[in-house]
Amino acid sequence: MKHESDLTSQKPAELRLVNVTVNFGKNPALEDLSLIIPHGICLAVVGPNGAGKSTFFKALVGLLPLASGQIFIHGLPLGHHKDCVAFVPQREDVDWKFPITVKDVVMMGRYLHTGWLRKPSNVDEEAVQKAMMQLGIIDLAKRSIHDLSGGQQQRVFLARAIAQEPHILLLDEPFTGVDIPTQETTMYLLEEMHKQNVTVMVSTHDLNMASQRFEKVLMINRRLIAYGTPDEVFTPAQVRAAFGERMLMLNGAMIVDDCCPHEEMEEEHGYH
């Protein structure tokens, strides 16, 4: 029902968080987060397990209620903005047994453009074809998502995000549990989106990747620890503040032992 001009005529989104607190049960999962994310940047969100990375993303798309504070996208409160937000979920959050094909999933990304009743237009078909082509899954178009490998499954959701033509792209742990080619494709794609002025935000456990390939890093552990360029963020004191005991200094190099991404507390939240 939204026309394309409607979505693209706006300037790229700026995200502003003011004293945001999100509760998980009765305990705060994120506390008093205030920051401004300018449009078009490529941001890595890092922090230990249970630091609230997924909570942060889910709050940004309006999936979790804010206990206090406010989020503005483009100066408008959440839910009132017209900017298109694409969210690539963690693979564990997807129901892979659902009877749906690869192309069906990618086409879902076009529903806002197509409308809820109209037949997909040629523009929609082309966008879907192009997205599947970019991710090398065009041959899998008619396959059931259940039959795919982990890397292929992730590509399907990346293709859908591209087909959405978003202004803000959120990826939750896209580098976890996928093969190297998929990691590289993902990274390449993020850089492409970045060139098109899309705001890209990625949560990751891979601190090397965060420090080497992202413009800015947001480090959280329930609250804001550091936010800035990788050099500003990855100082021993701040990494220790976020990761605590899990960080070691060896001959001047920081080593962080944090390799169990599947234990994040956010996973069960009643959205099935």
Binding site: K58, L63, P89, D95, P99, D104, M108, Y111, L117
Partner: protein
């Protein structure tokens, strides 16, 4: 000729004509709605709703109101009650359903057994009485089915997104809570109109078995719905004839037929069947042995 006679003979009776139409409509309706039930593991909710209508029917009778309306109100109350109890997070959803479902069933039986002069047999409510469908019942059933199927068609994409990917639904600014409630209410209406055919005890089977059978054979929701509808209609047809000739309870015969179809597909399905699984394992073993 003998076969045609065998098929046509029951239809000489008007009650059998009505029964056949009612069973087919209900079979198809349940089979299509049931796809959502199966995919979102809501089988227990369906069962709970079916049992919850019992006190609704009893109260409606006591107050001299419309029985179908009473059943419908009870089903809607129970479905919203489940949401309310489990939303607080102190009780898990299946526990909440378990409590409400047995509470409603016992309340219903207490109420019905207190009515000495109750005209309708309890067993008809529990196991259905498709042979007793009146023309008026039939019109209500068909009208409900048409409205529900039109809503499913109209909301098809929205339901698809909400059920498959609630996060995408939120980013597309769909009203997820409202859509879920609409689905629950549609489900409640489906169950209420189906009770006459198969009864409180067996509605859940009509909602679950044909879609589960279709799921084994397909990888897209539209074809799952189509196949499920086919299996639902076939079960109604075969079940009703079986009940006519073997003189057994029609609701039970319909559910039993659906189960037989499921078992055959479960064993012989080309993709997910037991036989093909065994065959693949056998081939695998031979290959590793060589």
């Amino acid at each position: 000729m003998a076969i045609i006679n065998w098929l046509v003979a029951p239809l000489q009776y008007a009650f059998m004509q009505r029964a056949l139409i009612a069973a087919l409509v209900v079979g198809v309706l349940c089979a299509i709605l049931g796809c959502y039930v199966v995919l979102k593991s809501m089988a227990f909710i369906g069962d709970a709703m079916a049992h919850a209508v019992l006190p609704g029917i009893a109260i409606a009778y006591l107050l001299g109101g419309n029985l179908t309306l009473g059943a419908l109100i009870a089903a809607v109350i129970i479905s919203l009650g489940i949401g309310l109890l489990s939303r607080q997070g102190t009780i898990r959803e299946d526990t909440a359903i378990g409590i409400l479902f047995s509470a409603a069933l016992s309340l219903g039986i207490v109420l019905i057994s207190s009515i000495r002069s109750y005209a309708v047999d309890l067993s008809h409510i529990l196991f259905g009485n498709v042979l007793g469908v009146s023309t008026q019942d039939l019109i209500v059933t068909i009208a409900a089915a048409i409205v529900i199927l039109m809503m499913v068609a109209f909301l098809y994409r929205r339901f698809l997104v909400v059920l498959f990917d609630p996060i995408l639904a939120v980013t597309q600014r769909l009203k997820v809570g409202l859509l879920r409630n609409i689905l629950l209410i549609i489900l409640a209406v489906t169950i209420v109109v189906s009770i006459q055919t198969v009864g409180v005890g067996l509605v859940a089977a009509l909602l679950v078995t044909p879609p589960a059978t279709a799921y084994l054979l397909t990888r897209r929701l539209p074809s799952m719905m189509a196949l499920s509808a086919l299996f639902g209609a076939l079960s109604s047809l075969v079940g009703l004839y079986a009940s006519f000739y073997a003189n057994v309870s029609s609701g039970a015969a319909i559910v039993f037929t659906a189960t037989m179809i499921f078992l055959v597909v479960f064993i012989f399905s080309p993709q997910k069947g037991v036989v093909i699984g065994l065959f693949k394992r056998w081939v695998g073993k031979r290959q590793t042995a060589e």
